[in-house]
């Protein structure tokens, strides 16, 4: 057993693994290299180890299936939730878009049918603005429509409206009027933006619609002068609507609560300062 420098053959061979992998201390590598320069037996032993390792590594990187995959990757990815339905995400995206378009068309038809039913039914004397408000509120009440912005915080909803609405708005009703807010959103009526706030009074769904005052034309002529002074009410078989002009807004409150409670919600609109 040779002893070159600080390492004998046994020590050198026991460190073959880290030497082969270029790991460990530089000092050990230096000691091994010094030993190998002088020890032919260990040099031969190291060469043999290298050959075995190369062959083993080659063999470990093969399987009995040759180059054929051992795994159905499409299935792995699909069932892992990575690709929802198709191997190509781009195809999946196109499918999703088509599906959403179809659902959107179906929803539009539902809105149209709702209007048609309302117009052909007992609500034929109700102004179109109120009819649309009823239709939107019906979607809210049945859970078919979720607002753009969902929050149970009065302040957050107020901030959302200030940020999102293009016309002047005031602070929506709050808890002290019995109104528990759930969120807010926007839609368009005859090209005009309408803001809405959804919530509940005594667990009954209530929707508040806010338009600029110049949209009063959507209300029949005979109603307009009264609206400037006090709340007006419209009863339908399903819902009660309270509406009025408040500051620079036309405000409608739709729901299934008593007239007094709706009026309280309506009159509380704009009575709070905006939170910065």
């Amino acid at each position: 057993m040779k002893n070159v420098g600080n390492m004998d053959c046994k020590q050198v061979r026991s460190h073959w693994s880290i030497f082969h992998d270029s790991e460990g201390d530089a000092e050990i590598h230096f000691g091994i290299e010094q030993h190998l320069e002088c020890c032919e037996q260990c040099r031969k032993w190291f060469d043999g180890q290298e050959r075995i390792e190369r062959s083993l590594t080659t063999a470990l990187n093969q399987s009995d299936s040759g180059n054929e995959s051992l795994v159905n990757w499409d299935q792995v990815l699909t069932e892992s939730g990575v690709v929802l339905s198709k191997p190509s995400p781009k195809i999946g995206r196109r499918v999703s878009r088509s599906l959403i378009t179809l659902v959107a068309i179906a929803a539009s038809l539902l809105v149209f049918i709702s209007f048609w039913v309302l117009q052909s039914g007992s609500n034929e004397n109700i102004p179109s603005l109120l009819q649309e408000s009823i239709a939107v509120h019906r979607f809210v009440a049945t859970g078919s429509l979720r607002p753009d912005f969902e929050s149970t915080s009065d302040i957050e909803v107020d901030r959302y409206l200030v940020r999102r609405v293009s016309f002047p708005v005031r602070c929506p009703p709050r808890k002290d009027s019995g109104f528990e807010v759930n969120g807010a959103g926007m839609y368009q009526l005859d090209g005009q933006a309408v803001a809405y706030v959804v919530g509940s009074v005594d667990s009954q769904p209530i929707s508040v619609f806010v338009l600029p005052k110049d949209q009063l034309e959507l209300i029949p002529n005979e109603k307009r002068p009264k609206m400037e002074r006090q709340a007006q009410f419209q009863t339908t078989p399903e819902w009660l609507i309270a509406y009025a002009v408040i500051d620079n807004n036309l405000v409608l409150v739709v729901g299934n609560a008593t007239q007094a409670k709706l009026e309280k919600v309506l009159s509380s609109y704009g009575t709070y300062p905006h939170e910065s």
């Binding site: 046994k10 020590q11 061979r13 026991s14 073959w16 693994s17 880290i18 992998d21 790991e23 043999g48 180890q49 050959r51 075995i52 390792e53 062959s55 083993l56 590594t57 080659t58 063999a59 470990l60 990187n61 093969q62 399987s63 995959s69 051992l70 795994v71 159905n72 299935q75 792995v76 990815l77 069932e79 892992s80 939730g81 990575v82 690709v83 929802l84 995400p89 999946g92 995206r93 999703s96 878009r97 959403i100 959107a104 929803a107 539009s108 809105v111 979607f139 078919s144 429509l145 979720r146 607002p147 753009d148 293009s166 959103g185 926007m186 839609y187 368009q188 090209g191 005009q192 933006a193």
Partner: protein, 214 residues
């Protein structure tokens, strides 16, 4: 007057459009994940093939590992070592699969390694293995499954992470959450044990007969 968009003209579209955007984000995440995964799919297959006691578990193991990794993909920091990151899930899942047959990892002892260095192996068969490994390793698949199962779970993982994953010791230590010194020791011992097994295999199957020129 503002332009009328689908999103605003039909209130019932509002929630649908939100769903659409979420779906888009999901697809972007899936595309990124698959882009990282594709170059190493074969490597992961082979790792599982060698690490698992039962070949039929490869697909299920990878599926479970990929599902967990994808769930946590938001935690993966782009630009860091994805290969090492996902191997953590694959090694963990393969360990779970083998748990029923798992042997406890034997603590590494440098003295033990010195003993194993070579002299425990029949010298003649050891020389045969040293001189002509390729011919003998043509029969590798006949005995490798047995030899790998004979290694303890952690040693086997260390060996495969090095041989198939080509990881540095530091990366293997991070993947398996063990000290780097243990990686060194386990790998050296696994290599010796594998060679011992192969030498025994040569002896038992008569691939190198005494008197033959090796």
């Amino acid at each position: 007057m503002r332009a009328k968009s689908d999103r605003e003209s039909n209130p019932s579209l509002i929630h649908l459009s939100q769903t659409f955007f979420l779906t888009d984000i999901d697809h972007e995440k899936a595309e990124r994940f698959v882009a990282h995964l594709q170059p190493i799919q074969r490597q992961l297959e082979l790792f599982c093939f060698r690490a698992l006691n039962r070949r039929e578990d490869v697909q299920d193991t990878l599926q479970a590992a990929i599902a967990n990794a994808y769930r946590d993909f938001d935690l993966y920091a782009e630009g860091t070592n994805f290969r090492a990151w996902i191997y953590r899930y694959v090694t963990f899942e393969s360990l779970n699969r083998n748990r029923a047959n798992q042997k406890l990892a034997v603590p590494f002892d440098q003295r033990e390694l010195n003993e194993l260095a070579s002299h425990h192996i029949d010298h003649f068969h050891w020389e045969s293995l040293m001189d002509s490994p390729r011919e003998l390793l043509d029969h590798f698949d006949e005995c490798v499954a047995h030899q790998l199962v004979m290694l303890d779970e952690t040693s086997r993982r260390v060996l495969l992470l090095r041989a198939i994953g080509e990881f540095k010791y530091r990366e293997i230590a991070e993947i398996l959450d063990i000290p780097i010194g243990t990686v060194m020791g386990l790998l050296a011992r696994a290599r010796v044990e594998l060679r011992q097994g192969l030498a025994s295999f040569i002896q038992q199957n008569g691939f190198a007969k005494r008197g033959d020129t090796a």
